[in-house]
Symmetry: C5
Subunit: 309 residues, 5 copies
């Protein structure tokens, strides 16, 4: 594998990492149809934990099978596939080497009660990622939750272990709990803050939700107004989030958010691209449609990142 | 031991496991009268912890003796015998090699108070399973309990350790606690969700209760209705649970549930079979009858799984 | 040391233990005047923690000295001596090899507040037992306490470690806390349940209090009545507890309970013997009398177990 | 590097440390424009965690880039640069050897709720400091918080580990929480107490806020009055804090406190110098101005410590 | 060093300890002006943590310097010097070999809030004691506190580690918290109980406060009256405490209690001596006076223990 110039520039941002970790980042960035472009699209499938199997897979029953998602990600030419332990175990050997995988180490579920201290169960470890041949670990933090300091401490330990083995680290940074209002969870100040903290925690790839124009914290609002930070368009907000991740030295990807119509989704992706982010993580929108529809949708998204759509 | 084609197909589902773990799964699947058929019947005896000795064994006093259960499982031609530490220690040498055993690592008891965060005591470890020559570890999680995330984290650690030694992992997934209603504990949406989470946690064998037609979660109910998921018969519900376990790539067994008359039990087993599950775990119904009666009952159950009754 | 046939039969019950542990059990069972008979009398001195020094030792001041208890146990021809760390350290070298010792790993004290979650402090470890030349570790659990699951987890870990070094494990199983009523703490159903759980936790020697006729749990009461379990005499109740410990495959000993007159004590011991238990653990009744009186009392107890009194 | 006499005298105060730790302290004390003088100015950048990226960096956007701070510290001739994991990772290789770095191991953030037990998340470890080539670890304690004992225990463990590898230890001691009043957080008695505890915990460099004249604790107030401890000027209070750090055997530095005008800041620095402290840690005042302004400001501060301004 | 007969007899009480620990006890008992007599006077300086620097050292400013206390202990011919980590680090090299030191591993402070579960922060470890060349570790427990079981568990672990390296163990046993009344904290029954528990935890040297005539616990009161335990004089109460520490097989020392006039203090010391205790730990009374006064005071105390005053 010859690493492209664009990817080389991205890797240069990870200057403190060992060659093993850089190689795993390169595996993701050089893979699939966007390989070498510095853009990436990741398929995440943790809906089974989050919403249960029926809500996740009944709309498209072949998706009950773990092989389905590996094959979908491969057929669509995606950059990587992320899932919890069992789902990766279910296809890790069949698809060994066929697509970079990310082992999601923690997960929430809909049976757990809502609290001011929302958290997630740690359901796998770094050694599992190694035995399954993964390129990276994934972990969710809930900034704002009364459990956030514990979650941060846990990922700090897991990330150190992962990096020592040459794995990359992906952090899902989803503000919630504590004093945060519901709109605050996707407010642009909170989203940029959450992304920045993921970067400070040592994440290689940072995953946040597309931010809204809302500003949650009074102290931040003053600064946004005084400094005239542009948050009027999604592209501008994405650019602000990317800047908040070490001025672009970290890979930032955005989730597809709530299910919406395809045009809405494509416009969102265009804004993410125009804001200078590195790509998308798209779950439900992908595997809850018939495969043909999903492949067509992903083809369009990839073309958007290629500047062709 | 020559592994049958049916068992080989099942083992193929465990593609990420090392040969040690596959061999232990094969030990269970090739043992007893159902050996090689892909079906299995397991004898679990953790009633001593759950209900105390008198409620468990006084109806059939020979059952106070740990040897009784080993011998019963052997005489009935069952696939494996599962019990807590002390009960296995009591016969592990006498019956070494005579029947695959599963060490149950955690247990609840009736002296503990009911709470919104029900849990179990961890009463043994993976190293105990090794020194006792077990084929697998067993562990119960309570999805829905405020203690569920901790229980999941614990089994994630124990399962990783077990797999590294070539042991198999059996998870009892029993929803309770938190916001769950009493009927919700056996609701079909909850049961399928609980089974799916056990699979995501990396279980090789998943054990749940036979689900009722009840739907607990509003968000799930909508999907069951929209997607017209058939939950009208027990067989259909079992089929849904099996599908929820990676589209049949994981072994799923069902408990006998509350004590009932024999015909009720046999019909339940037929539904489990017809739903495509792999078998039954039958405790109280077995050892709380005179041995002759138990053997006759188990013979019928085995014949049901053989398609002869 | 040539192990007697009776002791050999007892040791056969511990079929999963390594030779080191069996040898330590044999050391206890072959020691003292009851050596070889399958019966045993143990001197436990943890009153210093439980009630403080004045209440424990002022009635017989020589007992302030740790040597006193070693010598008393030796002079009386007892089977073993059990005490917390400091008390064993105080004589372990002087009396090395003179009598088997049991290091009590946890202890409560009267300064701690009564709670619904009573527990004990862990005040020593398995490595301490090794360096002091002990034959066994001792540990108390409080079934029913809101802290019971933690206590069980702790002894499970300690017992595994102890067994790996060839030590034996003694569990004091004292129900209390949670929803248990005061009479429930010594109710026969609770006592048998507590003894059974100690056996399931892997104890070699189980220590409970003499049970009363009271039945605490409704669900259990029904079974005791339906199955006509005889609980009218202490001997019958002891027999029921012994049966609950794997049908006699585990050594069961009883405490002397509350201080009472000597005839009351001797009758209790006779009932324990007639119920088929293995012996007694007698603390306060022993060291709170002048040594001559204590020796005379212990002589009678030993004669009772020998069938001579 | 030839260590100056002044620095040698300071190092003599760390008589129990190994040569590795002394060498790292020397690296800091011999670096930059104040190198060799016994004075030091450190640039700390943990505002990203504390206040989020916009509030921290939008006033001077180049500061979003981790390289900016390394370069600023180098260009200004500062003694060391302190930051959380991600920010150091972002430039550790480019600036390897160019300036001593301090890895801040824990951090708070503005999304966490105010409580009586304020704490911080541990976001990095000692091994991270080693792989990033740092000279020291940094850690914040909150004396007075209900979480203070845990924070102290954590830094005790981390400091022991750091010293064993030859790293130095910097403690930020910031009283808050529990019964402390808001003015009490910077009261001179509390500040001296907090500094003394950091020294007792084994810190090599102690960082506190400039204390006010306020006295918080009744018991302390009496002593301050009886012993006529001079707390009327900031210089006197600084002198008292320095004395409280082992009579000057420990390096004490002060933060710049709340943003204020430059003259106010310079006067504060003069008082710190006149009180005999070793220097300043200046964050927000530095990187929230245009670089030229910041360099001019730092030049003045350095000249103050050189006695030239 | 030739150990005196008196010291040899004391060491014989520590029969289970390894030669390393005995040698460290001997270092303390053979050191200073009371060396060889079986008596000892220890200088403890943990007031910096407990009351802060101003309250501790402002009355005698040279005491801000850690060297001061080493030198004072040496000049006074004391047996040992005990302090927290930082204070020992501050002079451990200068005074290496000059006086035996005791590293205090945990400490409370006046900023922490009073609670029913008072505790202390663990601020150093056994490995620190080793690298600083200490003869012993020191640890405080609060019997009666709702945190007491945890504190006991911690010292049990630390003591085991310390003994394995040949260090001695000193336990400060200070009842407080939970249901204890304020007078109960120094009641003679509580004090004897607290001392006994320290001995049971494996302490080599036990440190308690001089007990009052008050009896706190009803159950104990009955025994003190029935057994006519003499608690009328301080000497009698000290004798009772010493007896409670394994009939004199453990070294028992008393603190000086609240600051009082010198005659009061000397009389207290005489009572401690007459009660058969091994000596005193005197902190505040020592370093809060001018050095000459302190030396004179300590000279008198030593002469009292020598039977000359």
């Amino acid at each position: 594998m010859r690493v492209s110039e664009q990817v080389k520039r991205i890797l240069d941002g990870y200057e403190s990492d060992n060659p093993g970790t850089k190689a795993n980042l390169a595996r993701i960035l050089m893979h699939g149809r966007l390989g070498g472009s510095g853009k990436l699209v990741i398929l995440p499938v943790d809906q089974g934990f989050e919403h249960g199997p029926a809500r996740s897979f009944a709309p498209n029953p072949p998706a009950y099978d773990p092989h389905y998602h590996y094959q979908l990600a491969i057929d669509a030419g995606l950059s990587a596939y992320a899932a919890p332990l069992g789902f990766l175990e279910g296809g890790a050997s069949t698809f060994a080497g066929a697509i970079p995988t990310i082992l999601k180490l923690n997960s929430a579920n809909s049976l757990a009660r809502a609290k001011e201290a929302p958290s997630q169960a740690i359901t796998a470890g770094v050694k599992d990622a190694l035995r399954l041949g993964c390129a990276a670990i994934g972990y969710t933090i809930y900034p704002g939750s009364d459990a956030a300091y514990d979650m941060m401490h846990d990922i700090a330990e897991l990330a150190r272990e992962a990096k020592s083995y040459g794995l990359a680290v992906v952090i899902w940074s989803y503000p919630r709990g504590g004093n945060l209002s519901k709109p605050g969870e996707t407010a642009v100040d909170i989203c940029a803050y959450a992304a920045h903290m993921a970067a400070l925690l040592g994440a290689h790839i940072i995953k946040v939700k597309p931010p809204t124009e809302h500003l949650e914290l009074e102290a931040a609002k003053k600064v946004y107004e005084a400094q005239k930070i542009d948050v009027r368009t999604l592209a501008a907000r994405v650019r602000h989030v990317v800047q908040s991740c070490f001025a672009g030295r970290r890979i930032v990807v955005f989730s597809g958010g709530e299910a919406k119509d395809l045009d809405g989704l494509f416009n969102e992706v265009r804004a993410i691209r125009d804001g200078g982010a590195n790509g998308s993580i798209i779950g439900r929108n992908t595997f809850q449609r018939p495969k043909e529809d999903a492949l067509k949708m992903l083809d369009t998204i990839i073309q958007i990142y290629q500047g062709k759509a």
